[in-house]
């Protein structure tokens, strides 16, 4: 059948600069560039180009420019190229369209409608270069009140629930070994260790080489239970039950059998070459009471020594669900918004299901406060955190910490081509091909992630210092430090912030 879909990119080669070194030919995992010896010329098959920019980045003479060049259809406000090409593809394949990374549709991004406050005249701002600033964050259940025995020395009588100690309010999101390469996992693990935070195994289990580094690991228990064993649960610093994911609320993960190679099969405890399909729901969780049973089954397994959290996708009733989770014994709640990323999801789900994390966060924080159970569980939010200012806004809106997934991968080299599901990631991140995974040197990856976290730490200190605050704790839920621009009355009400000028 003649395909009606054309390539999305044009490959422009400046022939005055091209030296025929063939780096582009060797680096392209889609075989776009081919060298013709007879003519001493490189031909590029643009239809295969995914726009990952690998060739353009590595070209030593800067001879290649990859340009986005979608099919130019007659202008039509209703029938966009997006819809036409999707229909063409489905008419050709009859299948569900797959994609990777987070929702790229122009839904409102509320971070960009929120502005931060700063101190002027009546309250002093703080210079982080001169004065100590505190970003340290503890995640876990906080007591309702503290019972302290007075005397010569104060003695804390209240038993404090297990806590995760973070040197900055940022963790690396759940990304499984399988969806990303072992080198990517190693980069995250080492960076988390150096920066004093945590990475999350996702639902892919914990590779045997990484068990010994468990103190900076959050181990996940998802509906497929891949790689879950008492050893695994006890290897981490915390356990997270994954109910849902922002990129694909309501459906489970799917790792194609081609990616389930020997080490992944061993880590996930499944047969080599079989599809790793996570059921859409946990079949033992149909209610909050069921969730409570799993939370406590896990807590029993880890002897109540580490926090157990629950991750859900932000959906319409997440405030009510969060109340249930906080009451069911979750020590932290992870909330993944509509822009959360993925290694593979149906396009239709990724682009249309869920709600923006900003609104979900504000409504959940508010709900838990109103019910007097906000201290029961810490709130970690995820899904589209792009910068240190997004984090500061999230914390002022009520989050305890944020998960970063996409931002971390971008630090590792990801160029958001959204082709993770093909397993041909040119940057060695979302692939298991031994020829490609080598491209991510975990030493460089670690350095890049640590640099990003350091840079963001410094920026966060500048921002809170500007507000006259010297500890991130004092900003948490402090919505008076936020003002909105260009929002509706309803949005102001849900976000619980005032418009700029008020």
């Amino acid at each position: 059948m003649l395909s009606l879909c054309k390539g999305e990119f044009s490959v422009e080669r400046d022939d005055d600069r091209c030296i025929r070194c063939l780096v582009c030919v060797r680096q392209c995992p889609s075989d776009v560039h081919k060298y013709d010896e007879e003519e001493d010329r490189i031909y590029s098959d643009e239809s295969e180009c995914v726009g990952c920019q690998r060739c353009a980045t590595l070209c030593p003479t800067d001879a290649i420019t990859i340009r986005y060049k979608p099919m130019e259809m007659k202008e039509n406000a209703n029938w966009k190229t997006y819809h036409l090409t999707n229909i063409y593809k489905q008419a050709e394949t009859g299948g569900i369209l797959l994609t990777g990374m987070g929702n790229d549709k122009p839904y409102p991004i509320y971070w960009d409608h929120i502005l931060l406050n700063a101190s002027q005249v009546t309250n002093p701002s703080i210079d982080p270069l001169r004065e100590p600033m505190e970003l340290r964050t503890y995640l876990g259940r906080k007591p309702d009140l503290l019972d302290i025995e007075d005397g010569d020395e104060l003695i804390l009588k209240t038993e404090i629930s297990p806590q995760l100690k973070l040197e900055l309010p940022v963790l690396f999101s759940a990304m499984s070994y399988g969806s990303i390469s072992l080198n990517a996992v190693k980069s995250l693990e080492r960076a988390a260790t150096i920066a004093g935070t945590y990475y999350n195994t996702g639902e892919g289990g914990l590779h045997k080489d990484l068990h010994k580094y468990g103190k900076n690991t959050i181990v996940q228990c998802a509906s497929g239970r891949f790689g879950v064993s008492p050893d695994y649960l006890n290897a981490g610093a915390a356990v997270e039950i994954k109910i849902g994911q922002g990129a694909k609320p309501g459906i489970g993960g799917h790792l194609p059998g081609e990616k389930v190679l020997e080490e992944i099969s061993e880590t996930r405890m499944i047969v080599e070459g079989t599809d790793a399909l996570s059921p859409a729901p946990h079949h033992d969780i149909y209610s909050i009471e069921d969730l409570r049973q799993l939370i406590f089954a896990l807590k029993e397994t880890i002897a109540y020594e580490k926090p157990v959290g629950v991750k859900i996708a932000a959906v319409h009733n997440s405030a009510a669900i969060s109340s249930g989770m906080a009451r069911a014994g979750a020590d932290f709640i992870a909330l993944d918004g509509v822009r959360g990323g993925t290694g593979a999801a149906p396009l239709v789900t990724r682009d249309n299901v869920g709600i923006p994390i900003e609104l979900a966060l504000a409504s959940i924080d508010q709900r838990l406060r109103e019910e007097g159970i906000r201290n029961n569980a810490s709130l970690i939010i995820a899904g589209g955190i792009r910068s240190s200012s997004d984090i500061i806004k999230a914390i002022a809106l009520g989050a305890d910490a944020v998960y970063i997934g996409t931002a971390a991968l971008v630090a590792l080299g990801c160029h958001l081509c959204q082709k993770c599901y093909t397993g041909k990631c040119a940057w060695g991140i979302a692939t298991q091909d031994p020829y490609l995974t080598k491209r991510l040197n975990p030493e460089i990856g670690t350095r890049r992630l640590v640099n990003l976290l350091n840079a963001w730490s410094n920026e966060m200190k500048e921002l809170i210092g500007g507000m006259g605050i010297n500890a991130i704790e004092s900003l948490r839920g402090n919505r008076l430090q936020l003002r909105g621009v260009g929002l509706t009355d309803t949005e102001y009400k849900i976000l619980g912030i005032l418009p700029a000028g008020e």
Partner: protein, 141 residues
């Protein structure tokens, strides 16, 4: 003496080491000129590849270098800092060095009929292959 070491687990087979070696040993040291308008020297580093495994190989500058011992004209010689170079003025292209090299790190420069090998980039603090490896698969220590 500092030597170049390879980390084959992160060598990505891009061959940029070879390319920058050629540029460094060219007349102009301009990458486009070196490749397009000038006689192109052989790279002193060669990427060996089989399947997904690849690594860059260059002269090991051996402590007991058989090439130096076997050279019939004294072209192959050790400098004071320990590196081994081939003086192309004296090399007659007998290829004895190539036959005795245990690493296969010396190549025939057919144009000039002399032996060609890594000189650790005379005048540079760090050899250009190490400096330009995009994945830090080469180290100089």
């Amino acid at each position: 003496m500092r030597r170049i070491y390879v980390k084959e687990d992160v060598c990505i087979g891009c061959r940029l080491c070879e390319i920058y070696c050629i540029v460094q040993h060219s007349k102009s040291k301009n990458i486009i000129k070196a490749f397009r308008n000038e006689p192109r020297p052989l790279p002193g580093v060669l990427v060996e590849e089989k399947g997904p495994i690849s690594f860059a190989l260059q002269c090991r500058h051996c402590d007991d270098a058989p090439c130096v011992e076997s050279c019939i004209t004294g072209a192959m010689q050790r400098l004071e800092d320990g590196r081994i170079i081939c003086d192309i003025e004296r090399c007659v292209g007998c290829w004895t060095c190539i036959m005795v090299c245990p690493y296969g790190a010396i190549r025939r420069d057919q144009n000039r009929k002399v032996a060609s090998k890594c000189d650790l980039c005379i005048g540079e603090d760090i050899p250009v292959c190490v400096k330009n490896c995009p994945n830090e698969a080469l180290t100089y220590e």
